[in-house]
């Protein structure tokens, strides 16, 4: 066999393998959060609302990730220290000058501009409309991932007779 066809065959086989692996393994980049935050516990038993920690959702493009002072509003270092390893991580941040280095997991493409404010305040959407699985998570997601696909956005906009002008989201 000619060298050209050998190389071509190898490229095709490798391409097929990469595609297969991508299809089988869940997408996104692995994320290791500084604290294994339990959404189910906080939204369930503790009866909290999303906006108590993600304080900017109604006023900003980004919902915001909570600083340690938000956690320490509820958690008492004197009473709870040593009661849970993840709480101890929080208290270690509380004792240091460092902020909790949360990693963003819900990312959009660089040219997509999603505004939480527009959807929460003007649209009146509940957080669970787009994040239905969040109250069930006992650990942070292991990988980054797009929560929404464009087809989901367009379906919702068409259902509510909202604009589907490309400029609304893409710039």
């Amino acid at each position: 066999m000619r060298p050209f066809f050998t190389v071509l065959l190898i490229v095709i086989v490798l391409g097929a393998l990469v595609t297969l692996v991508k299809a089988l393994v869940p997408g996104g980049v692995p994320v290791d959060q500084p604290i294994a935050f339990n959404h189910a516990l906080h939204l369930g038993d503790a009866g909290m609302e999303c906006g108590q920690c993600h304080t900017d959702a109604a006023t900003s493009r980004f919902a915001g990730l909570p600083g340690k002072e938000v956690c320490l509003d509820c958690h008492d270092i004197d009473e709870e220290e040593g009661s849970h390893p993840e709480k101890d991580k929080l208290f270690a941040y509380a004792d240091s000058d460092d902020e909790i280095p949360w990693e963003r997991v819900a990312l959009t493409a660089p040219d997509v501009f999603f505004s939480h404010r527009r959807h929460v305040t003007a649209g009146g959407l509940d957080c669970l409309h787009c994040h239905p699985d969040q109250p069930l998570l006992t650990r942070p997601p292991a990988t980054t991932g797009l929560v929404m696909a464009m087809t989901d956005c367009i379906a919702c906009h068409e259902e509510r007779s909202h604009t589907v002008d490309c400029l609304t989201c893409h710039r």
Binding site: T59, A109, P110, D111, F113, S115, R117, R118, T121, A122, T163, D165, C166, L167, T168, H170, R171
Partner: protein, 228 residues
């Protein structure tokens, strides 16, 4: 439905290029450097077009015409785009979706005003400019065509504020960066569909003219010539 447009009064314009600078800062337009600029590869969504040859020595007249994308009502660029990356939206803004563009440059050829720019290289900003990019505007990658969007992100921000306060969008709340920066007040931006708006009245004044009007592109950026 609003129809956004702009009037540029050439009698007031002092060619200070404040609009050019404001546009570049607002829309994350990278400096290309002398070599690329010499090859005609500058990114100037708002460009000063020089016209000379009038007047005689010792008083030659040099005219400069600020030229953004004219957001034609009958845009030739939209007709030639094979992938639907450029389009006219319902408010008359000619949009460009960078992620859909395949970089064929049909539109740059079709635009009679040369208001479209092809990204010949990955954009780079020297420090400290790189720390001061506008987070409301994307960084366009190499290999796509880009153009003035009439600062559409400003319209969205103004509209968000109005909705949050449960009121309609006020006149003057949405202004492009170039019009906002113009120290001579030569640029007036607003809703062309409102006959009471300043921009609409100026667009119907005796001094108004459209660039290359005989082409039938029907631009929504209208110029005012000298005179009373």
């Amino acid at each position: 439905m609003a129809k956004w447009g702009m009037v540029i009064d050439l009698d007031r314009c002092t060619a200070c290029q404040g609009c050019v600078t404001a546009c570049q800062a607002e829309n994350n337009l990278p400096p290309t450097g002398a070599v690329e600029a010499d090859r005609g590869r500058n990114y100037t969504w708002m460009e000063m077009i020089p016209f000379s040859g009038e007047g005689e020595h010792p008083k030659p007249i040099e005219r400069l015409l600020p030229r953004p994308c004219l957001h034609c009502d009958n845009p030739p660029c939209v007709k030639v785009c094979p992938v639907g990356a450029t389009f006219k939206n319902e408010e008359g803004i000619v949009g460009q979706i960078f992620s859909r563009c395949i970089g064929c440059r049909y539109c740059t050829t079709a635009c009679p005003y040369t208001a479209r720019y092809f990204n010949w290289s990955t954009p780079k900003w020297p420090a400290p400019m790189s720390d001061h990019l506008n987070p409301d505007v994307s960084i366009r990658p190499k290999g796509v065509v880009e153009k003035c969007t009439l600062c559409h992100h400003r319209l969205q921000n103004a509209r968000d504020q109005a909705r949050a306060e449960n009121r309609p969008l006020r006149s003057g709340e949405y202004v492009t960066a170039c019009a906002e920066a113009c120290p001579a007040g030569a640029m007036v931006f607003g809703d062309m569909s409102n006959p009471e708006s300043e921009v609409s009245k100026l667009a119907h004044s005796r001094r108004a003219f459209k660039l290359l009007e005989d082409l039938g592109t029907d631009p929504k950026v209208i110029y005012l010539r000298e005179g009373d």
